[in-house]
Symmetry: C2
Subunit: 441 residues, 2 copies
């Protein structure tokens, strides 16, 4: 049972693929550091100043156009005109809270619910995925009477006090509290050919460990694409036995869809749906408003009610009509422009292209993913060991070729391939060329 603090996405971003004191400081960087201080998380040793963005592209002050394979918030495309128009129109008309009835809010909630399992008929709107996960953990605790939470070892679920406790990748020192146990992610590296069975066994071991600690389990909290663990998607279905094990012990399954949700994985609208499971709680965020700050948690009415007997919950900005307008536009664009299908097809093109490269490049150790969420493991040629230094060099070389990309995984040696859902074939091929050149250079 791994309860240590592992290396993780945030750690890598903060400490590896990032600006560090001592790097060349342009005036704009000095200014930023003076404003944000130690909480500054600028990317790249020479950070980029951005001035505009459209579709899959971001434009820097020096005129460089970057193909965005990193940012998963502007999921239907940067500055999408439908979202822009929806926000501009609604914010000029009415922006208030859920203490009043506003038709567009319920229109949005119903549109969103049409994508969700019918049992999860209550949606609490929040501002961030962190708030959604913070709430979901408390709902799970109120509903089960337990407190124990199982997460994966490099998980990231957000930035509140409670959610940071369940985010091993956010810890720089110290260890997880007793009521949080981190298990290995569902990878072939850990479980060989029986990922589903191995993952279930590690959940059962964590439950047994909770038993020894005198703690009742409350929930398995998992990002169903295991983004910061390094992206683990296959075989579809591997989540089901783990969820069954958790339920057998009286706990719930919280699907953190902040990363895989909203059509990114191509085969389904949600990451959990690929695995044939119905979560007890679903949290969502990032791409939900294509950049308008909004997030939410879907729950069964009885679970939400059991939480609400203990405390009142109100979220001032959550469920405001402007967020509803942005969210509706996002759902409309995904449907009308067939972005789920595009994620599937363009994702397959990327997967095939990356596997072609892997076939001739021994340092590309493995390529895996679903839809437009792909992980590429980079390794030392001789030993096959994860190679974080190579990953940093590739990220920098990609930037020099006009492609934005980041890393994930316990060793920071997995490239996170995560373009907007509107990516076209030419852009996918441009990425593949840039990656081929970067890995060879």
């Amino acid at each position: 049972m791994n309860t240590q603090t592992p290396q993780g996405e945030v750690r890598q971003i903060l400490e590896m693929n990032a600006f560090k004191p001592g790097d060349t400081k342009a005036e704009a960087v000095e200014r930023r550091l003076a404003n944000l201080g130690a909480a500054s998380v600028l990317f790249y040793r020479q950070p980029i100043e951005m001035v505009a963005a459209q579709g899959a592209w971001m434009i820097a002050r020096d005129g460089t156009r970057y193909l965005d394979f990193y940012n998963n918030v502007p999921s239907v495309g940067h500055s999408h005109p439908r979202v822009v128009e929806a926000v501009a129109t609604q914010i000029g008309k009415l922006n208030t809270n859920t203490r009043y009835i506003v038709a567009i809010v319920d229109e949005y909630l119903e549109a969103l619910k049409s994508h969700l399992p019918a049992a999860l008929s209550n949606v609490v709107m929040t501002c961030s995925g962190s708030e959604a996960n913070d709430l979901a953990i408390r709902v799970a605790r109120a509903a089960t009477g337990g407190t124990g939470i199982i997460v994966t070892e490099t998980a990231y679920h957000g930035n509140t006090a409670l959610v940071t406790e369940t985010s091993p990748s956010a810890l720089k020192r110290g260890s997880l509290p007793d009521h949080v146990i981190a298990v290995p992610p569902p990878s072939a590296g850990h479980f060989g050919n029986d990922i589903a069975g191995g993952f279930r066994a590690s959940i059962e071991a964590a439950i047994a460990e909770f038993g020894r600690r005198g703690i009742r389990p409350a929930a398995l909290l998992a990002d169903s694409i295991f983004s910061s663990d390094g992206i683990f998607a296959d075989p579809a279905g591997f989540l089901r036995p783990a969820v069954e094990a958790m339920r057998a012990a009286g706990g719930l399954f919280i699907a953190d869809e902040v990363q895989p949700g909203f059509a990114r994985t191509g085969e389904a609208f949600w990451g959990f749906a690929r695995h044939g499971v119905t979560p007890d709680l679903v949290t969502m965020g990032k791409p939900m408003g294509n950049g308008f700050p909004m997030a939410g948690m879907a729950a069964k009415p009885e679970h939400l009610a059991s939480f609400c007997t203990d405390v009142g919950y109100f979220n001032t900005f959550g469920g405001n009509p402007v967020a509803a307008a942005a969210g509706l536009a996002v759902l409309d664009v995904i449907r009308e422009q067939g972005l789920q299908q595009n994620a599937l097809e363009t994702g397959r093109l990327l997967l095939d292209g990356l596997r072609d490269i892997a076939a001739s490049e021994p340092r590309v150790a493995e390529v895996r993913g679903a839809g437009l969420f792909i992980g590429v493991d980079l390794a030392e040629e001789e030993t096959g060991r994860p190679d974080a230094d190579l990953t940093v060099r590739v990220i920098d070389a990609m930037r020099d070729q006009g492609v934005l990309i980041g890393a994930a995984g316990r060793y920071g040696a997995t490239l996170k391939v995560r373009p907007p859902l509107c990516l076209n074939q030419a852009e996918a091929e441009q990425f593949l060329s840039a990656f081929r050149a970067a890995i060879r250079s």
Copy 2:
């Protein structure tokens, strides 16, 4: 030492001045309840459906125009054209995160910092006041090595797990954890003529109680207008001895400016400034973007750095360029339209008018406040006891006369007079007439 769970703002809103099962249900209300479930917090027994809002006014579906004396988010006025234009322009150009440099973000941070004490030179942008307070508590703990938090007995600081622990008014049952102690608010009701001395003594008693519990204090966390406690503003300066007592015990002072900040109290831009204290941490939210979801925490660089050695902190939506544009527009409008001065002058007009009414209406027990944040205690005529039932009847009668208003305070018997900062004299007089009629009816 009061460590019980008192009645509070949220409790009142949820259980008193709100839609309840069994009330007449229109179709729109049924729809909302089906969507939000137990987390629904609709106002009024017959909730209002809103369709538009402008300046100090909200417009319902049936055409009724309501003068908004409740909502403190659209502080420079509902649908303010400057904010609308700023958001519409920036969201069409670039909406990204703080991993890149974007000039407008630093422009905003510098404009905001020009209003803050110079020592608090780092600002972490978040999505909500809850996230800001959640972070501030952790920063205070990291900086002091303590864990104890002192709050007032009907305080509300937000909705995350950690912040709910410090919000006695959000608890429906159960009690505060050992590391949170609630003290009486700085009111004449508790401390007679020596509010400053009495409040300091209760902070010292809480510190002593922490000592008996073996807990080191981390912070006094206070909304400097004591909004949900019932609005306590005078005498200006009463916070200083309490803050000194906390600092003498090694703790910090977190000024929660989510309610009083951004010029509302008239005499100063922040509530704490009226009291002549410089906080160690300042949190802000609600009116910051006039409804665009944004919030933040200002800290001394060394305090933020001590927190960031333990965990990484990144907020996906926090500090996005659209929030910066909205925030800049808010600061511009406050300055250009002289809204702080207007809060002072129109606030005085309201205070005088309400005191006139109080002079002839024994059920109006006390009127107090600063700028456009005024509390009006309603009481039984014979006994002088706080009268929550009367307060509900007045709130309903005001609604019938086209004025939105809410309640606060331990007994839910304090009207919370909190109009937008752009309120003009005619609107103030309209409110006074409506209140006079409501209290007499």
